[in-house]
Symmetry: C2
Subunit: 497 residues, 2 copies
């Protein structure tokens, strides 16, 4: 990829004025920019204010910061030092952010926080409904959270916020609206109308972002109330719009979002899967981060548990991919049955206060255990996910076997073991090499755009191509779902259908 | 003229959303605007914030305020009441302003103030030099003056400043720089480089103008340090760029600015003429306003003076056109000689404290008189003006007789009597019907653009066509000037040359 970042610099040497060339300073700069192919460049007033002195201080050599966002070249600044950019994924639960050097294209750092809006409700629709009742702090809380995250990144990397000249933002439709301070109140009500779907180019100053006030902020388009910029960013990350045959993209969060398509058409569906797959199902469930169990093996004979902990050390909980491994291993080792019930006297199980549970790990008086009830909740989520996949793929007349690639994204997507997921009937039983883990695809798509302005047109074309399908309304779904509550399914043939 | 104002409104009825048309609000508005030929329209964030509620309050009928300034359609506001515009001429001495209803094209009111920068010096170059020494109040003082003028206009017409959505600004290069807060320090120094010559479209908010912060502010381009937007505006007002044969345009202020040209080429020259022709020469000199003498007749036999006062009543001073009449009449009545000296015992003359003077008017103990010294100053100004005209016209190989039209503008231009001006040798002796008085042509040009966006392209073409000629450097000038100190000239034939 030839780097073509949203914001870039040019070191220019202008011919100094002479009695026979009295071109004004701004016009002189524009003349040189025109010669470089930026004939449409705009020079804002603040640049015109700074230009004369800077030109004369450096003998008419000057560094300009340029942006071509919005199909128009704009001078964002003069004589800048570093030119940095941020990619931000605003999730309902987590906000993740990467800091880039736009000149080298290198990632400097990344950081994340829990979305501070969670105090208003874990579900994004709950927050939109709160806004409908007059709650007006959701925008401010979100913006303050993001600004705090940015200032943290600046502080620990010893950079000035004024060096950040570009931001790309991907989030679901409601999160993008909250971020922009737009009215979300018509999104939860039929016919579910957002304020804006088109991509936006804004100035950081207008948004109140704690970066250079002239920075360009690109907000991914939505394809409707239920297909936000996060999904489109993920599609771009996976390159679905460039595929020649249908591929599947699964983003697992509080909602399961499924994308199916290729260069000709792209269909997106979403449905509630509960928090199970984000590690929220169990008391010991955690986000995939340092100190979290992401891998589980159980010895078939002894019932001994072997765990893999992210970054090693003493485990503090289990993430989504760990849960998938755990349930798969519990089933394969015969500790739970097809319905997810503990078999009598299975190794590692116990019953306390009337609750049946399995102890995954214990040391120094601390115990990580999972209850039967929690396994039930997990199975409901995995059932929802499989049922959505099945109904979705079938609805376009395809079979699982015809799907050449399955991208798995989301916080769980970083480390999912297809073998385990297929074993429990969460993912279809197709060749393992077709599964591709993307991690936070929404963030990665935002990073790609930051460094490649050519993608902007591709994003718009892709957004226009997407159709949305409401999956919870499908008639066949309930019967598939009921069988999918079992491991792997009451009709295992469906996994290969 | 088909009115095509810089800012205009459209009353739109959007099709309300339905389950089969879930287009977002902003996208829906853009779709309708595209159907009206505004496919490039931009919707700023603040409009996106207001749109959902306004649409639903009025059943998707909405009034939008649009601007096409800067070759791009922009939505400036929603649901506005009146849509008004201001044309402003920022002169070094006076600031004049007209208020228009952009929908009807009618002028609502006009007002003017003395440029508050005069406390820093009457000459614009003096002010630029002050800025070079670190004086930083010139922008603020000017802006405050203009804002006061606007608020006055709003108050006395009972309009809200938020109803003003468009402003056109014409001023000389230094005044435009002061208005914009740009660095003027390179203008007075060779090679005399302005910060910007191109036309600018700015938002009122960025400038700090006391009108709707989203209003479009158009600042006329300059054609160099010595050919400002005021001259270009005057050229547009006179239509010089559309003429098929050379015409002359004279703008008389503290400087004499002469434009000569037609559709093929336009040449501008300027030179210092002193304040004489703006009514600043005499103690009784005043701006042409209510209560000022603008016409003088002297009975050849009796020496009785008959005066014409603007709006009638008791006179308080004399303006430029009155001065021209006065000197012409004093000369024709034999009260002054060719050199401007009072003849011995001429009627109306007296000598007090060693100063010879002529009493123009006296009543109730108040006397308006002019001294010989003041007549001398006036003759220097008229000599400068004629000499510039002569040298200028001759330099392109033309004679006065070949000039088909002579536009006379400036505060004095409103009422100049060509007969008097020719009589004293200030204007060339050509057929009287070729003289056309324009008054404040710079303001009128600004008014025209406010109501006709088509002129924007014409202005840019015109600005590119202008060449500047420094007149004070002309070798022949001094000899012409010396003769022109006499009435009408020591070589009267030059008046027809």
């Amino acid at each position: 990829m030839n780097p073509d970042p949203l914001v870039f610099t040019r070191d220019l040497i202008l011919p100094p004025p002479t009695p026979s060339d009295k071109t004004a300073d701004v016009d002189r700069l524009l003349r040189v920019l025109e010669g470089l192919g930026f004939g449409d460049a705009q020079v804002p007033l603040f640049v015109a204010k700074e230009l004369p002195e800077m030109l004369r201080r450096n003998n008419f050599a000057i560094r300009v910061v340029l942006s071509r966002a919005g199909n128009r070249t704009k001078v964002l600044g003069l004589g800048a030092g570093a030119v940095l950019g941020l990619a931000i994924d605003i999730g309902s639960t987590n906000i993740d952010c990467s800091l880039f050097d736009l000149e080298s294209g290198k990632k400097i750092d990344e950081a994340g926080i829990v979305n501070p809006q969670v105090v208003f409700g874990s579900d994004v629709l709950t927050r939109a409904q709160l806004a409908m009742t007059g709650e007006d702090r959701l925008h401010d809380v979100l913006l303050n959270g993001i600004n705090g995250l940015i200032l943290d990144l600046c502080g620990r990397n010893q950079i000035s916020r004024d060096e950040i000249f570009a931001v790309t933002v991907a989030g679901n439709t409601i999160m993008a609206h909250f971020f922009l301070g737009l009215d979300v109140r018509n999104i939860p009500l039929s016919p579910y109308i957002p304020v804006v779907n088109r991509p936006l180019f804004l100035s950081a100053g207008a948004l109140g972002l704690a970066i250079n006030s002239r920075a360009v902020v690109y907000v991914f388009p939505n394809a409707g109330s239920y297909v936000g910029g996060d999904i489109i960013s993920g599609i771009i990350c996976a390159g679905i719009n460039r595929e020649e045959e249908p591929v599947l993209f699964i983003d697992v969060g509080t909602n399961v979002e499924i994308t199916l398509g290729f260069s000709d058409w792209i269909m997106v569906g979403a449905g509630a899967a509960g928090p199970a797959l984000e590690g929220g199902v169990a008391a010991i469930g955690k986000k995939a981060e340092k100190g979290t169990i992401s891998r589980v093996k159980i010895d078939r004979a002894t019932g001994n548990v072997e765990i893999g902990v992210i970054s090693g050390g003493e485990p503090e909980g289990i993430c989504g991919s760990g849960m998938i491994d755990l349930v798969s291993e519990l089933f394969s080792a015969g500790i739970i049955d097809q319905a997810g019930r503990f078999r009598a006297s299975a190794p590692g199980t116990s019953e306390r206060a009337g609750m049946k549970m399995f102890t995954l790990h214990s040391s120094e008086g601390k115990e990580l255990a999972i209850t039967e009830k929690e396994i039930d909740n997990f199975l409901l989520s995995k059932a929802a996910m499989f049922s959505f996949l099945y109904v979705f793929v079938k609805s376009v007349g395809l079979t699982f076997g015809e799907i050449r690639k399955v991208f798995v994204a989301g916080s769980l997507g970083c480390g999912i073991d297809p073998e385990s997921a297929i074993n429990i009937g969460m993912l279809p039983d197709i060749p393992r090499e077709r599964f591709i883990s993307l991690g936070n695809a929404s963030l990665k798509g935002a990073e790609m755009v930051l460094m490649n302005a050519d993608l902007l047109a591709e994003i718009e074309e892709t957004a226009a191509k997407i159709t949305y399908r409401e999956m919870n309304e499908d008639a066949e779904l309930m019967s598939i779902l009921q069988g999918a509550m079992f491991i792997p399914h009451t009709e295992p043939g469906l996994l290969k259908a």
